[in-house]
């Protein structure tokens, strides 16, 4: 067991937080090491000293002696009140001696040492001032002047604005009219052109188509006729050849037949001759 581990285990054992196998092995270690036992004992003593004090401290109230038998002038509230009263008294006495005067009137708090100085408001009242009627008159005249000037400038600007608006409107409407006219004329012409172009194109197309198709048909029919003629010719030639061969074969056949009949005749003739000669002999 290394020293760090021993320290940790010793502390854990001291506070009863070692359990199971660890506890058993540490107890065995204690049995084997009297030094460790001694150290543990010292820690236990220390804890008992600390615990002793701790217990007593917890049991004892925070203020040690005579808490319940406190005199009322030692109470903190009483002390505070008395100290405030004393300081107020001192202030009053000092104020009395140096002749301080405090006055509160018309929402003003004034403090002074010695004689009271009159506030400056009275001085202001003695200054000769314009009467309210005069002031009103001045205000009225200036207002009138201002109004006239304003009116003039307003009407001027109004006229200018009107004029400019009118001219702008006229210009714009003329421009728009022109534009509309131009566009309508242009569009009509364009449509006519377009339509006529379309018609001519269509006509051309149809013509071309018909021409093409008629040419093709002509060519086709011509070729067809030529082919048919060729075919007829061929057929005729073939037929002629067939007839020729038939005639040839018929000719050959008749020849053969002639020869055969001749032979037969000759044989008949010979047999007949023989019989006659035989009959004559007999």
């Amino acid at each position: 067991m290394d020293s760090k581990g021993t320290e940790s285990d010793l502390i854990a054992y001291l506070y009863g937080e070692l359990e199971g196998k660890e506890k058993e092995s540490f107890e065995q270690y204690l049995l084997d090491n009297p030094e460790a036992r001694e150290e543990l004992e010292k820690f236990k003593q220390l804890r008992s000293v600390m615990g002793n004090v701790k217990d007593k401290e917890v049991i004892a109230p925070p203020i040690f002696v005579g808490d319940h038998h406190q005199r009322f002038w030692n109470a903190p509230y009483f002390k505070t009140v008395v100290s405030i009263a004393a300081s107020l008294l001192v202030i009053m006495l000092v104020g009395k001696f140096i002749g301080m005067k405090v006055k509160y009137s018309d929402n003003q708090l004034s403090m002074s040492f010695g004689s009271i100085v009159e506030p400056y408001i009275e001085a202001r009242q003695t200054i000769p001032a314009l009467t309210s009627a005069q002031v009103q008159e001045m205000i009225n005249t200036s207002l009138n002047q201002n109004n006239i000037a304003m009116q003039a400038s307003w009407s001027e600007t109004q006229e200018k604005l009107d004029a400019s608006v009118k001219s702008n409107l006229a210009l714009n409407s003329a421009k728009i009219d022109n534009l509309v006219r131009e566009s309508s004329a242009a569009s009509q012409e364009q449509i006519q052109q377009f339509v006529s172009g379309l018609q001519t194109e269509n006509m051309q197309l149809v013509k071309n188509y018909f021409q093409l198709t008629s040419n093709e048909q002509k060519q086709y029919i011509e070729s067809l006729l030529v082919d048919f003629a060729k075919y007829l010719q061929q057929q005729r030639n073939d037929d002629l050849q067939v007839v020729q061969t038939k005639l040839n074969s018929l000719e050959q056949n008749t020849d053969v037949f002639k020869q055969e009949t001749e032979q037969i005749l000759t044989s008949i003739i010979s047999t007949v001759g023989n019989k006659k000669s035989l009959g004559t002999r007999n």
Partner: protein, 85 residues
Amino acid sequence: MDNPERQLQQRELSDVLQGALLELNNEQREVVIMKEYEGLKFREIAEVLNISENTVKSRMYYGLDGLRKILERKKITKETIGYGF
């Protein structure tokens, strides 16, 4: 109620212990106070201080060791405080 002599002794001892605790460094003192006077487990102290449990035990060991040496220097032992009144 304790007698006055005992009370005086307690106060003196308490002062001495407080002085001894103040002589420890901050790390050891906080661990000793949390363990000895607030009764937390080492695991809880480790969580609160965000350090390992072994570090807590090590600090406790050296804290207690330091306290013991300080008290020995001041001649405070089990016998001198008259334990068992």
